[in-house]
């Protein structure tokens, strides 16, 4: 006999599938956008903007080589000069959320804390996607 000591929360936090009533309800990972721009600590804002090209960039997540979230650049932080380094401009250690958190809970929290975006990560801190408040609220209110 074996004991999965870290339990159900560890499994869910890793974004793994589940069964049951809650499994069919949207959670953070279901609504988060994947493919959001990422960057490294020693990148510059100019490099980020150049990679984004004409589409522009409204949020960029700072990650290390293992894709662990270190910081975030939102609209305000992205206004800096081209030469500014990411580690100078970023918001370090942003609040992150696990993939299994119900979307209604996310929408409420993000509205209460005026968060336009928040990274969704595994329990190891690896980036899974970015949840936009507008998406969370739309899904939470049933307007898919």
């Amino acid at each position: 006999m074996y004991d999965y000591v870290d339990g159900k929360v560890d499994w869910l936090a890793a974004g793994l599938p589940s069964e049951g009533r809650a499994a069919s309800k949207p959670a953070a990972a279901d609504v988060a956008r994947s493919g959001v721009p990422t960057c490294a600590l020693d990148d510059t804002l100019g490099e980020i903007r150049a990679r984004a090209g004409a589409t522009g960039v409204e949020v960029c997540v700072v990650v290390n080589a293992a894709n662990v979230v270190l910081g975030i650049l939102r609209e305000e932080q992205l206004k800096g000069p081209d030469s500014q380094r990411v580690d100078e401009a970023m918001v370090p250690g942003p609040s992150t959320f696990r993939p299994h958190v119900p979307i209604g809970e996310m929408a409420h929290y993000m509205a209460e804390h005026e968060l336009p975006t928040t990274p969704i990560t595994t329990s190891e801190g690896k980036l899974m996607g970015v949840l936009f408040r507008e998406d969370a609220e739309r899904v939470a209110h049933g307007d898919r």
Partner: protein, 67 residues
């Protein structure tokens, strides 16, 4: 005494047909559980529990977290 395992070991055991048993109360199990897991709440575990499991396969028990 059950042997502690992590998520990676759990996935290997699942791939080899292990039985998962969630020991949380029924309502919590029905809300969300690992795929394929059965529910035997801790308070219901007694000498007869073996009759509910396939003794030829590994059994993995789990709770909500480490507490």
């Amino acid at each position: 005494m059950p042997r502690p395992i992590d998520r990676n070991e759990l996935q290997e055991l699942r791939a080899n047909g292990a039985q998962l048993v969630e020991v949380l109360p029924r309502d919590e199990y029905e809300d969300q559980h690992l795929p394929g897991a059965t529910n035997i709440p801790l308070r219901d575990i007694d000498a007869n529990v073996k009759g509910r499991l396939d003794t030829a396969k590994a059994v993995v028990v789990y709770c909500w977290d480490t507490t």
